[in-house]
């Protein structure tokens, strides 16, 4: 829907030109988008907690820093060049113009739809930040901090911003093709999942992976993180309606239902095989949130329920694949965001109501969705591989075995989390 509104904005601008009637700001919509932006920002501490609780105590600060430096470094990169690469006006199907380089031009006064452009830009910036941070789940406990910093800068410029343009800018090729991505199943989740997989492959497994127990050092952190993620996700999904309207209400409801349903179904699967765990409930919740992301504004509540129940089951099994193929994508970024994002994107093509999905008569959509999500994922995977290999060949991408045993907090940051 985000794209629909962008289109409307374009129309509005066009109309304004003819009718000499300037687009105006709606205070209610603006209030909701200001809030939504802040909500998505809060997902970063949430993610830090979610991931940080699952690593060992000697690596928790590094893990937190992956999210916090996404906030700072990507925050700066987005303001300087990311936003304009994604949303600067252009006819290019691939990348935006330099119109808003350094957030200059008419940035302070322009209006997008019914909200200030500045608000739209920040809302979008939070998406760039969280997408990059999500990737870090695959690299914990072993990546060099310097390599991570450089990786982020490159990735947001080369991968995130262009892909956001493809899907959400009105001239983007996937947008034109008709791919539906309400709040980022493709742009955020599948693309970060694929990047995570690529990075994990280049980095190699943690020394202890499948050898010694790698126990989460603080599961309450992970649960609190899941709670903050859920909270923030309302901004993510319902904010993507770009206004405080009925669509936002539906997106909110679907987000709630899918998360709850996936939390339930993951729990039941675990129970079937043994005991229902806290980590499982939290994982299910996140899987549900991921899957509903591309679909939030397109489904009826029953569709969200179906999708949630489904993704809880699928992801609960999907995360075991890494042990079979022996790829240490440590905190299941691919297993949850990749698999869940893919499932959500494709199922959007199935379950969308109002003539948009298979179920309401549009048989073409599933194909379009599949092409859309695979293109973005493949692009992300390949470019990430290239970046990672270059980093490996130059400054090095992984800490030494001794540093890994000692823990990355001490040797990368000179500090310990708990004293």
């Amino acid at each position: 829907m985000r794209k629909l509104l962008l289109t409307l904005t374009t129309f509005a601008f066009a109309f304004a030109a003819y009718a000499d009637e300037a687009p105006t700001i709606d205070t209610g919509d603006t209030a909701w988008l200001l809030v939504s932006s802040a909500f998505v920002l809060l997902m970063l501490p949430g993610l830090a907690l979610f991931y940080g609780g699952m690593v060992r105590a000697k690596n928790v600060l590094s893990t937190f820093l992956y999210s916090f430096t996404a906030l700072t470094v990507v925050g700066v990169v987005w303001a300087v060049i990311g936003f304009t690469l994604a949303f600067g006006e252009t006819n290019s199907p691939f990348v935006g113009s330099m119109q808003y380089f350094m957030l200059g031009g008419d940035f302070m006064t322009a209006i997008s739809g019914t909200i200030p452009l500045s608000v739209f830009a920040m809302f979008q910036g939070m998406f760039a930040i969280i997408t990059v941070a999500l990737i870090s789940g695959a690299i914990v406990e072993r990546m060099k901090f310097s390599a991570w910093i450089i990786f982020m800068v490159l990735w947001v410029i080369i991968v995130y911003s262009p892909v956001a343009h493809w899907v959400w800018a009105s001239s983007g090729w996937l947008f034109k093709m008709g791919a539906l991505d309400f709040a980022g199943g493709t742009v955020v989740h599948f693309s970060s999942g694929c990047a995570a997989l690529a990075l994990a492959i280049v980095l190699g497994n943690r020394k202890d992976f499948q050898k010694a127990p790698i126990l989460p050092h603080n599961v309450t952190q992970t649960l609190v993180g899941a709670g903050l993620l859920w909270f923030g996700w309302f901004g993510f999904n319902a904010g993507s309606a770009l206004g405080a309207n009925a669509l936002a209400g539906v997106a909110f409801a679907n987000t709630m239902i899918a998360a709850a349903a996936a939390g339930v179904s993951w729990m039941l699967i675990e129970w079937m095989h043994g005991k229902p765990s806290a980590l499982g409930v939290a994982s299910g919740i996140v899987a549900g949130l991921v899957a509903i992301t591309p679909a939030a504004g397109f489904l009826a509540p029953w569709g969200a329920l179906v999708l949630g129940l489904l993704v809880g089951v699928v992801c609960c099994y999907a995360i075991k694949i890494k042990f079979k193929v022996n790829i240490d994508e440590s905190l299941d970024v691919f297993g949850i965001h990749g698999v869940g994002g893919f499932l959500g994107a494709v199922m959007t093509g199935v379950l969308a109501v109002e003539g948009k999905g298979l179920i309401s008569g549009n048989s073409a959509q599933v194909g379009i969705q599949t092409i859309g999500v695979l293109s973005a994922g493949l692009y992300s995977f390949v470019v990430t591989l290239v970046i990672a290999f270059i980093l490996k060949a130059t400054i090095g991408i992984r800490v030494s075995a001794e540093q890994e045993a000692e823990g990355t907090d001490i040797n990368q940051h000179g500090e310990k989390a708990y004293n």
């Binding site: 699952m54 127990p213 790698i214 126990l215 980590l279 994982s283 075991k320 042990f323 299941d332």
Partner: protein
């Protein structure tokens, strides 16, 4: 003097402490340990990875007592810590050559 080291189940510590107090032994030092032994640990499952956790949380109690009451002390600890189930723990006795109370400089039996 002898040092008695008793490894007991955490929830039996209060019992043991009171039993020793009953004997007039009021000085002791405890710390948390992880025990391995016949008592099996348990399985933990974290996101699809199952781990056999061998260690079992125990408490180590150390108390230095005069030679005369070692046997008695060992006896009451044994009794107070017993649940009859596997994993009840062990008592070890070691010899102490010298003991000092830092505050007063007293040594020997006077110091404990």
């Amino acid at each position: 003097m002898k040092l008695i080291k008793a490894i007991v189940k955490p929830h039996m510590l209060d019992n043991v402490k009171e039993a020793l107090n009953g004997l007039g032994i009021s000085g002791m030092t405890t710390y948390e340990v992880k025990g391995f032994g016949r008592q099996k640990g348990h399985h933990e499952l974290y996101r699809g990875a199952e781990y056999q956790i061998d260690f079992v949380p125990k408490v180590m109690l150390e108390t230095v007592v005069p030679d005369e009451i070692v046997a008695q002390a060992v006896g009451v600890i044994s009794e107070a810590a017993k649940t009859g189930k596997i994993g009840d723990g062990k008592i070890f006795v070691l010899d102490i050559i010298e003991a000092v109370r830092i505050r007063t400089g007293e040594t020997g039996n006077d110091s404990i």
